[in-house]
């Protein structure tokens, strides 16, 4: 029982990550109809916003300490961050400690801008081109973005810890009457789950309850008619692209304490996020979220030792197996619309 509860927690957490990534992808892929292979790269750029802020906060002045030696035997150069000098030792240290959550503030404008430039500069010209061309151009773009990040940050994963206040884990088991230490879950993952829930809700509310969202939804359903009504749908689609990029970026920022970012992380998520979106059904935002959570939970269950003992390696293929089963039983995924990306 405790193992199952634990894996449900894991699944929800994994699922919230999948759902968040898939949400941004659905906005672009499922609705604008652009196969965006650079979506993983957007996630990665978001993660590197956190790294960048961490670097900025750690910009240091150098003092030479003669009492210590560096690896070549020269006097050690001691680095002290400027923020500590400016804002005092304690507040400076707190700023550095909180760099990941603070990076959200940095990531939103950066990602909106990246999304805007991408759409205006490149994607716009590919709405009417075949999917094959979209794949090639966005894949090329993803590689280029990846290489640029690699040039500046190297290929090694970079540690971006969560604020000290969130280290350690919360003991759920005690709440539910289990022994201590049976069901524990890290605070940061709980934060991530809550954060995802808020973002997902916000995106839905935006599309559901604002006029802007209504027009966009109409545009997704029938772009031509909306255009004929004299609405500049292109402009709104650009905004949607920016929004999708921002969602992907924020997902990336918050994920960095869980997964140390490296330049390659976008590609690692790319395939998975496409599977999540398609299983959810093309053109459906709730479908993407649902499928994210479903796949996350099933994957967690498949990782249980009892199940692995029965079916070795099941945890490695479960996502794909489920995808096959769902697509065979439900022709358009969980909640897909008819005719979207079916030819």
């Amino acid at each position: 029982m405790d193992a199952i509860i634990l894996q449900i927690l894991n699944g929800l957490d994994k699922g919230s990550a999948y759902a968040l990534i898939a949400l941004g992808l659905t906005l672009i892929f499922g609705t604008l109809g652009v196969v965006n292979f650079a979506h993983g790269a957007l996630f990665m750029i978001g993660a590197f916003c956190a790294v960048t802020l961490q670097r900025i906060l750690n910009i240091s002045y150098i003092t030479i300490d003669d009492t210590q030696k560096d690896f070549l035997g020269n006097p050690l150069k001691v680095e002290s961050p400027y923020v500590k000098a400016w804002f005092g030792e304690d507040f400076g240290a707190a700023l550095i400690d909180w760099s990941v959550p603070l990076a959200i503030i940095l990531s939103i404008p950066v990602m909106l801008l990246v999304g805007y430039i991408m759409e205006r500069g490149l994607i716009k010209h590919f709405y009417k081109r075949p999917h094959a061309d979209q794949i090639l151009v966005t894949f090329g773009l993803a590689i280029v973005l990846q290489e640029v990040v690699k040039y500046f940050y190297g290929a090694n994963p970079i540690q971006t810890p969560a604020p000290g206040a969130f280290t350690g884990s919360f003991d759920f088991g005690v709440l539910l009457g289990f022994d201590p230490n049976v069901i524990i879950y890290p605070y940061w993952r709980l934060v991530y789950f809550a954060f995802s829930a808020v973002i997902i809700a916000a995106v839905f509310a935006f599309l559901q309850f604002t006029t802007f969202g209504m027009v966009v939804r109409a545009g997704m359903a029938d772009r031509e008619t909306v255009g004929l009504l004299g609405i500049n749908i292109d402009k709104r689609f650009t905004a949607m692209f920016g929004l999708a990029a921002a969602v992907a970026g924020m997902a990336g920022v918050m994920y960095t304490p869980i997964l140390s970012p490296n330049y390659h992380m976008g590609m690692d998520f790319l395939v998975l996020s496409f599977v999540v979106v398609v299983v959810g059904g093309m053109g459906s935002l709730p479908g993407a979220v649902l499928s994210g959570f479903l796949l996350g939970i099933l994957q967690s269950f498949a990782s249980m030792n009892e199940i692995k003992a029965l079916l070795p390696g099941i945890d490695q293929v479960i996502i794909y197996l489920v995808a096959i089963i769902i697509l065979l039983t439900r022709p358009r995924g969980l909640m897909g619309r008819k005719g979207v990306m079916e030819d």
């Binding site: 894991n10 070549l72 290929a155 090694n156 350690g168 140390s260 690692d268 967690s300 990782s303």
Partner: protein, 449 residues
């Protein structure tokens, strides 16, 4: 097509027929059938450095590349000579190898067996290299070693830690300076016993491929030999990213030590997440819960940052060693690149020097002569103390370092500290040890092409 021995470039004279057919003015065919693959004929000799330059291990590959370039400079008499000054064999003169200037070509393995072989093939077929060095994964090492055996060139493995490389997959043309999983286990076990006691229950998370399996097997055997028990061995997918589903059940399993048989980004992530779960702050069976990472590297330590504090692991070599060889190497590497070398870099540097030295002592580039010179070769002054290249399996035997993540690092390179230098006798095993292919494993015969 009369010669049955034309398995490489630079062999056969078909000039007459082809030339007549093409009616080209001048035709020079290869002067004579070479004695072995890519026999160097001019004033220079080419060696190939095949390392990952793209993908997750590219940072490590680039560090290997730096060290290899440094080795070439030293061989050619440039720079301060580095370890050539401390090397116990004095055959190398700083005038290249056998008076031939050393040139090198580089390739990208992408840490994929297929690609690494293609890259090695191009070095052999196109560039005419006489030796291939480097690499950052056991799968790649075994694959390229097999290729070099077939093609008739020497392979000096870079970072490869699986028992198989000089175990069941050992080859006459392949040599490994790096230590292996068995040695990690043998070196770590006594230290772990001292630190954590003889009555511990270990839970293994193991990367689900051959290297992970051999390491898990080795660590389990050596820790069980000193009294630990093994609660469970869970295989995790490579590149899983999120290991939470595997870490979550650990605390409730009755285990009080978690062994992470992961490498690279997997290790960084699994360790970071295990720390995030607060495992090291917990008490199980009345003891502090501990984590062990059997194979460390500097880059992984840098990636995991403060999470490795107090975590034990092992290494082939570390720049903080105080012997003359290490100091000479760190000085010359540090002055050129502004950073201390990694242990992968060290291995690649040493392998290049060892190869050059063997050629010089054998007075021949013939891979079989070189292999003979390396087999049973004992040397010192290369940073690991007295070292033996064992003839039976082409594995180097030397001291192994047990490391611990440093509690209060003073700078970005100061991430690990040396806990103990395990003497070579303690990590030595029989060449026909069951973990190394048993009696069936054989080097085969040397192939000169």
């Amino acid at each position: 097509m009369s010669n049955s021995n034309f398995t490489r470039r630079g062999v056969i004279k078909t000039g007459a027929v082809a030339g007549a057919g093409l009616a080209l003015p001048t035709i020079f065919t290869a002067s004579s059938a070479a004695a072995f693959t890519n026999e160097p004929t001019g004033g220079s000799v080419k060696i190939g450095f095949n390392v990952p330059q793209t993908g997750p291990y590219s940072e490590e590959g680039l560090d290997e590349l730096r060290a290899q370039e440094l080795a070439v400079a030293h061989l050619n008499g440039e720079g301060d000579g580095g370890m050539m000054n401390t090397f116990s064999s004095k055959a190398l003169q700083g005038n290249g190898i056998l008076g031939k200037k050393v040139e090198f070509v580089t390739g990208d393995t992408q840490t994929k067996s297929d690609v690494a072989r293609a890259s090695a093939q191009s070095m052999i077929q196109k560039d005419g290299v006489i030796m291939i060095n480097g690499g950052s994964s056991s799968g790649v090492a075994v694959a390229v070693q097999g290729l070099c055996q077939e093609a008739g060139v020497i392979f000096m493995a870079g970072l490869t830690h699986s028992n198989d490389t000089t175990g069941k997959d050992r080859k006459a043309n392949g040599f490994r300076h790096f230590f292996n999983a068995y040695m990690s286990g043998a070196a770590l076990a006594p230290v772990l016993k001292n630190a954590y006691g003889a009555d511990r229950r270990a839970y293994h998370l193991t990367a689900d491929y051959t290297w992970g399996w051999t390491q898990q097997e080795s660590i389990q055997a050596s820790t069980e030999a000193m009294g630990w028990s093994t609660v469970k061995d869970v295989r995790t997918p490579v590149g899983a990213g999120d290991f939470s589903s595997y870490i979550a059940p650990v605390l409730n399993s009755g285990a009080d030590v978690l062994v992470l048989n992961h490498y690279g980004a997997d290790m960084v992530n699994s360790l970071t997440q295990a720390i995030q779960f607060g495992l090291r702050d917990k008490q199980v069976n009345g003891k502090n819960f501990e984590i062990v990472v059997p194979l460390y590297s500097e880059l992984m330590a840098a990636g995991a940052g403060s999470n490795i504090e107090g975590v034990y692991g092992s290494m082939n070599w570390n720049w903080q060693l105080q012997d003359a060889g290490t100091q000479a190497f760190v000085k010359s590497f540090g002055e050129k690149y502004g950073r201390p070398p990694s242990n992968a870099a060290h291995t690649c540097y040493v392998q290049t020097l060892l190869y050059a030295d063997a050629v010089t002592r054998a007075n021949s580039f013939n891979p079989c002569a070189v292999a003979e010179a390396l087999e049973g070769f004992e040397f010192d002054g290369m940073g690991n103390g007295s070292t033996l290249y064992r003839a039976e399996d082409h594995q180097c035997f030397k001291d192994v370092l047990v490391m611990k993540g440093k509690e209060n690092p003073t700078n970005q390179y100061d991430t690990l500290e040396i806990v103990e230098t395990t003497p070579v006798a303690q990590v030595t095993y029989e060449a026909n040890h069951p973990m190394f292919g048993g009696d069936e494993a054989s080097l085969g015969t040397c192939n000169a092409g």
